[in-house]
């Protein structure tokens, strides 16, 4: 029996394997992953399964679903194919979800990191700005921005990003404030590492897990915001988005409810899948937080 402390414990499996094991322990998260994959497949195969413009006339107006195999999910009041709309709408929803989230997280991480790391007056100024944004309701601000910038899909995406960065900024700031006092940051400073390197190479990887989890929430919110805009008729009319479809289906809600219900279900499932993904990521990335 030796007390020597230099013998190593057996090697652990690679991080990805551990990550997958933890993630797959959560059944709901797996379901989320499946739905998410389906949405991605819809978006990718839209051009193959439903060639042609989704906004073109595909059959007689208001064909109910499952009656004509050329338009399996029916057509709306202008004779546009609902299934085609769902396929192409997945593209828009994912695009908006991903890009708006990147914009929001990008701004949020930068501002939060600087405020949290430097503290003092830098923190004060940045946080007052953040609070100014937070006092205006998200959707009102979004409407204003779209009214100013116009309703092209690019501007809508950016605007959604701009209205959603405050929460990640506060979160990153809190993480940075907790982490900057840790000894490994002092250790890096003591080696002569520069501030930028400390922020992005030392602290950021440690602050990332909660942000990744939160990104899924922003993604879901971004999709909802776009749908809400489109529902009000402020979406980009040149693209078939799920929100547009619901907005237009509203007028025939009593006679042909499927026009609004089918894209509605698509939105619900997609947003649900993001929430479930987030839940699973949280379990996998922060195992300590939720021990049962």
């Amino acid at each position: 029996m030796s007390l020597q402390s230099t013998e190593l414990a057996p090697a652990e499996p690679p991080r990805l394997v551990v990550f997958w094991r933890r993630y797959s322990r959560n059944r709901a998260a797996l379901l989320g992953l499946v739905i998410f994959t389906v949405v991605v497949i819809l978006a990718l195969t839209a051009g193959i399964v439903e060639p042609g413009d989704p906004l073109r006339r595909a059959g007689a107006p208001l064909t109910p679903p499952f009656t004509d195999w050329a338009t399996p999910l029916g057509t709306d009041q202008l004779g546009r194919d609902v299934m085609s709309g769902i396929f192409y709408g997945a593209r828009i929803s994912l695009l908006i979800g991903v890009v708006a989230t990147l914009v929001a997280i990008g701004i949020g991480v930068l501002i939060g990191a600087i405020a949290g790391y430097f503290g003092g007056w830098v923190d004060d100024v940045l946080m007052r700005v953040t609070e100014a944004f937070q006092t205006i309701p998200n959707f009102v601000l979004l409407l204003t921005l779209v009214a100013i910038m116009g309703s092209q899909i690019e501007w809508i995406t950016v605007a959604i990003g701009i209205v959603s960065w405050t929460a990640p900024a506060r979160m990153v700031r809190a993480e940075f404030m907790a982490l900057r006092g840790r000894e490994f940051v002092d250790a890096a400073r003591n080696l002569g590492v520069s501030n930028t390197s400390i922020i992005f190479r030392e602290i950021m990887p440690n602050a990332l897990p909660p942000i990744v989890v939160y990104a899924s929430v922003i993604m879901a919110l971004a999709i909802l915001l776009e749908s809400a805009l489109a529902f009000l008729g402020l979406g980009d009319p040149n693209y078939a988005s799920w929100g547009n479809m619901i907005g237009q289906g509203r007028s025939v809600l009593r006679t042909a409810p499927y026009c609004a219900v089918i894209p509605g279900i698509a939105i619900v499932l997609t947003v649900l899948s993001f929430s479930l993904l987030g839940e699973g990521l949280n379990d996998a990335l922060n195992p300590r937080q939720k021990k049962r």
């Binding site: 030796s2 230099t6 840790r182 490994f184 002092d186 250790a187 890096a188 002569g192």
Partner: protein, 545 residues
Amino acid sequence: MSQPVLDISGLRIALPKGADRPFALEDLNLTVEPGEIVCLVGESGSGKSLSAGAVMRLLPEPHVHVAAGSIRFMGEDLLAKTPRQMRDIRGRDIAMIFQEPMTALNPQKTVGWQLDEVLRLHTRLGRKARRARALDMLERVQLPDPRSAYNAYPHQVSGGQRQRVMIAMALLLSPKLIIADEPTTALDVTTQLQILKLIRELQVEEQAGILFITHDFGVVAEIADKVAVLRMGQLVEHGPAKTVLNNPQHPYTKALIGAVPALIPPPAKPLSSAPVVLKAEGLRKTFAARGGLLSGKRKAVAAVKDLSFTLRQGETLGVVGESGSGKTTVSRIVTRLLECDSGKVEVDGTDILAASPRELRAMRKHIQMVFQDPMASLNPRKRVVDLIAQGPIVHGTPRKKAHADARRLLELVELSPAAATRFPHEFSGGQRQRIGIARALSMEPKIIVADEPVSALDVSVQAQVLKLLAELRDRLNLSLLFVTHDLRVAAQLCDRIIVMQNGEIVEQGATADVFANPQHPYTQKLLSSIPGRHWTPPVLTTEAA
């Protein structure tokens, strides 16, 4: 012949699947007689705290549960009690003193309220009678002003006083058994001695049995009647304190006791001619407490007042003192992790405190630091090789060479090169500290500032890390500024020591001189407070040493 207060036999506690071993405790047999202090000693992970949890029936069930054996308290089987019966027993018959009194007390309630609660739950006394009894108890634990303490919130009294409050709470109902889980570990030596004395006195008055859990053999020597040594959940040795401490039988006990640093300073080195590598002059640092908008300004705290010292090449200078003495501040100032208010720190004749950011980065090469908590000081998301090579890469060493050097350094600190591609959490505490040392050495510094580098480690690992530090110092001709609260550790490694109190040096000199003949009353008090100072660990030869 009275029956034992506590009789544990064949106790086995199961751990959940995937833990490092199936059972936290295996076949533990232990008795505590009335009026006896039994010390349960072991290193971290030995299962000593879980055994206390089992007696209190406070295990995190169902993951961790009692798999076999019996726990008898005054002859009654505790494991057969219903949760309701257990609630009555806890606090009234069995009391517990925790390690960290700040977290064990409710910060939202006054001390008096919390004492009162115990009485309210377990007695039928009236309000006045309860208050009288609580005040009486606070007096018995020798709190300076029981009345004001009764109305104080936990954060308003000092750490030592909080622990006194905890003891008062534990003893309020004259329990037959007290379980003390590392009750003095979070305290300074001088306070620790007072608390140990207090526990001893009150225990004699009350004739209670105490199960005292600790990792510190000094404390054992101070207080124990009987000792039980746990290793990985197994009882390896037990018996009367004197026998176990002075004549241990089991190799593990021998190794543990052999690792306790003796209070014998190293022979003085002829260093007066060596060049001075680090010179601090007139250092001052005041922490201005930043007042909030509504809370108003708080008083500024002077952490370091006019401090000067020199460190010669190849020398180890110990900075000792209790918490709040400013010793950690000193270590942060000389590495310029903390900006100083005034003063000079010369490294090889250049003032590091006056250096521009650019010069400073170049100078950091010469003065490196080993931190207290090896887990916190290693970035958990970096591989060991990157951690060690980071410094040289920042200073312009090509990546490949830096990595090769890092692997060589791992061997120097006696770790296998296979460790290079692992992440910090895959190592034990001692191994992490070795990585921390390798990182400091990667810059080929002249000076290493070590801030409590072994205080987070188990005794046996502590001894190995200290040995490694001493070897490397001699081999590489390093100078060491060694900050510690542990006088035993200081005695083992330091050539000279400075003793700090409230930000000032009260005494300095060669370690041997200071230990043999302390001049300042504070130094005298510190030295006489070392737990188990009358006990010199027997010189043992073990295969592990």
